[in-house]
Symmetry: C2
Subunit: 471 residues, 2 copies
């Protein structure tokens, strides 16, 4: 058993498992811990990360372990420690230590899993992120997921869907233990963004800033929760290269969050490399900031998240109209999707154990029953359309991007150019902007929303003061 | 096509493919690039790393691409750029750009791979590190590898084994282009170890040192080639936790290497946290250093690598006898495997695209035909038993470890305690050692061996001078 033990009280996990059992009634759930993923050969693996549903219910990553929740009883099947483990990995936790730390009713060697297989006829499971584990799930439970791709909810049978819905019900609103973990991730992320601002100066590589930021995560026992984006080309939305040199008139966009015992943070800031926004950068920065703050303030129980997205879009559209980049009334522009020419993505998503929480379950997690994705460019990328509830943590992350591939796309931009909605000449003045995004993690409470990431400089003057403070 | 382009001349890869075709005659080879590995949900992936055989022949990672080498002709099937790529990832290379950069005869959309399937009846392939890719290999070529585990050479058919042997023949001795890449990895690794020594001081966490070291890799465009080991518990051989605080009398063992465009480095140094080895630490450090230097000097054409291991073992045994820890004559102790009580692993391995190069092919790569693993504890862990050739790069990494699980193991240590070979009382004096390893990357040439990692401090006085130099 080369996994870890939970760092929180076993009662946390016993309570979650009891809630799952309540939701499922007589149906057993079989939750797999996932395995190590080979990087280039079997023994050279990526840092092991337990599957999120397993982490939620057990509290710690345990390679190849399997949790069976059956009515009131929870059994955990683990790879027992062997002699070689002690030689190469140091002492392992005994099965009884694992039982005490996780609060399950029994911990048994994985080899005994087959003994309970006959009880699992009506069991539901959720596909592991690990393909080898998925093959084992298929073997144990008689599933036939396509081995050449990751399953989606469309591949789940009725038993599996019952487990999926029960897990969604549990994980949408975070308990106190979950929030404690997310706050730990936020603390590391805060240190990382401050360090990134401090080290930034013209002439460094993007790599240097990324390295300085990730150092703060690693030094706090965290890992990056997703591939960090640290780039002077913020208009490339999924940018995972770090080779550009920072120019004195560049903006640096950093979308980077730490993962703390599996729990994520997700934060973006955009700062001027030389410590001062140009007039054009500042104009669009202030628009994004206004949209972001108004959207954060809307995170309250009962508010439909799509309305947060649409409101942020209207604020952005209004600002773009004021700058002469768009023409029309802001609400009308958003109805027609014109704002998406410069803000093509959704305003945010659920945050939890996954940075896009429960995205393995697709829109079944992110969208309330009966709601579906829009076909409109921009709105169609919105990952969350639920009414907010206390305990939900969402990201709020509007942005403005000058993406040539969008602005030159006849299907997307053509109609707005033809009718004069988009003024490319006016936009050309903002060439030193490229991409701006501001993103916070926000907790919905019974009262005012809590911006968990509020300690990271966001007001333009605060950001300017933080940049280059190390030199 | 969200992959990269080769950074070296296309002639490098054309020559390697021609050599593969020569070795295979009429038999086609189908080499898969591998895919992105999901971390917790499909869109949140580990940093993509192309499969090593593909990198060797194509020069750059390209997710889901497939190379077909068929006689003199090479065709590369890639996922073509689509409109969304441009929106989210920026501009992609066109198929013709990929063709020019890789030197293949044709680059075709992946969808056309099925058109050539009938030509592939006798084709050989090598299992991808990526399970989803392996499922695609099975589908295309009619293989039936067990989906619940990574295949080994025992799962390869005759066609596959022909490709395996041809790739081993090519990759055992590095061409100039490969050495250029390994030297790039070494440069980053050198900076990392110097930075690690400089930042070290009592009171930091292992995390802090690891982060400072990996920062140097990232800032040079490298990634860790394997899970870094940075620990005050060097006696835990595979230690991937970093939570201990550095005490003033601790040794810090750092086994960390950069990967540069896929090519690895692999270096270990062991330095005193407070900048000065204690007398007991220094005594064992000097023994390991002597063994390491003598082993490095043996890396010459025609020398059997197992003899390098055995010689290093004798030097270690002699030092341990001098310190009163072992009793007997050094050669006799090594014959009986007594040295393995304190040096339980092999003296090193092949280094190349993989840190344990071609370990996906098991001992078929590491052991010359007709040679097999020893059953003796210690020697049985030796990963390489070939006669050295010019162009081979190997690691040399002897060590001394005080591992309670070995020393208290009745089967392993019992006989040596019973006959007085191991003196535990004498060993107890060295409790502040725990684990020492010194590891360099060494190129076998026609003349003297070249220690590629010679710029990293290794002599005790040089190491002491480097530790804490930042403060």
């Amino acid at each position: 058993m080369s996994g870890h033990l939970p760092v929180q009280s076993p009662a946390v996990f016993s309570n979650r498992r009891a809630a799952l059992a309540d939701a499922l009634g007589d149906r057993p759930a079989v939750i797999f811990g996932g395995g190590e993923r080979s990087r280039n050969y079997p023994a050279n693996v990526y840092p092991y990360r337990g599957d999120s549903h397993f982490l939620y219910l057990v509290g710690a990553p345990m390679p190849d372990a399997v949790l069976v929740v059956d009515g009131g009883r929870s059994e955990l099947f683990v790879v027992p420690p062997d002699a070689d483990d002690a030689l190469w990995h140091g002492a392992s936790a005994s099965l009884s230590t694992v039982r005490t730390a996780t609060g399950v009713d029994a911990v048994r060697p994985l080899s005994e899993l087959s003994e309970v297989a006959e009880r699992l006829e009506d069991a539901g499971t959720l596909p592991s992120a690990d393909p080898l584990t998925r093959a084992k799930q298929c073997a144990l439970l008689g599933r036939t997921w396509d081995p050449t791709r990751a399953p989606t909810v469309a591949d789940l049978d009725e038993d599996d869907l019952a487990v999926a819905d029960a897990m969604i019900g549990l994980r949408l609103s975070h308990d106190e233990a979950a929030l404690e973990m997310i706050r730990g991730a936020v603390a590391a992320t805060t240190a990382a963004h401050r360090a990134g601002m401090e080290i930034t100066r013209p002439g460094l590589l993007e790599h240097d800033v990324r390295a300085a930021m990730e150092r703060e995560l690693l030094a706090r026992g965290c890992e990056p929760a997703y591939g960090s984006i640290v780039t002077v080309h913020g208009e490339v939305l999924h940018n995972n290269v770090y080779q550009h040199r920072l120019g004195p008139s560049d903006l640096l966009l950093a979308d980077l969050g730490g993962e703390h015992h599996g729990w994520a943070s997700d934060v973006t800031r955009t700062w001027p490399v030389a410590g001062r926004y140009s007039a054009t950068q500042r104009a669009l920065y202030d628009i994004v900031l206004q949209a972001e703050k108004e959207a954060c303030a809307m995170v309250k129980p009962g508010v439909r998240y799509r309305d947060v997205h649409l409101h942020a879009s209207v604020v952005l559209a209004r600002g773009l109209v004021d700058e002469g980049i768009l023409r029309g009334d802001p609400e009308g522009l958003v109805e027609r999707g014109a704002h998406a020419l410069l803000f093509p993505h959704g305003v945010g998503h659920l945050l939890g154990l996954d940075v896009h929480d429960m995205e393995d379950l697709g829109d079944r997690a992110g969208y309330a029953q009966g709601r579906t994705r829009s076909a409109q460019f921009g709105l169609g990328y919105l990952r969350l359309d639920r009414d907010l509830e206390p305990g939900m943590v969402v990201t709020i992350e509007p942005g403005i991007y000058i993406v040539p591939a969008i602005l030159e796309n006849e299907r997307i931009a053509g109609p707005f150019l033809a009718d004069g909605t988009l003024n490319k000449e006016a936009l050309a003045r903002f060439a030193d902007v490229r991409g701006i995004r501001i993103e916070d993690d926000v907790l919905c409470t019974d009262g005012e929303p809590e911006v968990l990431t509020a300690a990271i400089p966001k007001e333009a003057a605060d950001v300017e003061a933080a940049v280059g403070a190390a030199s």
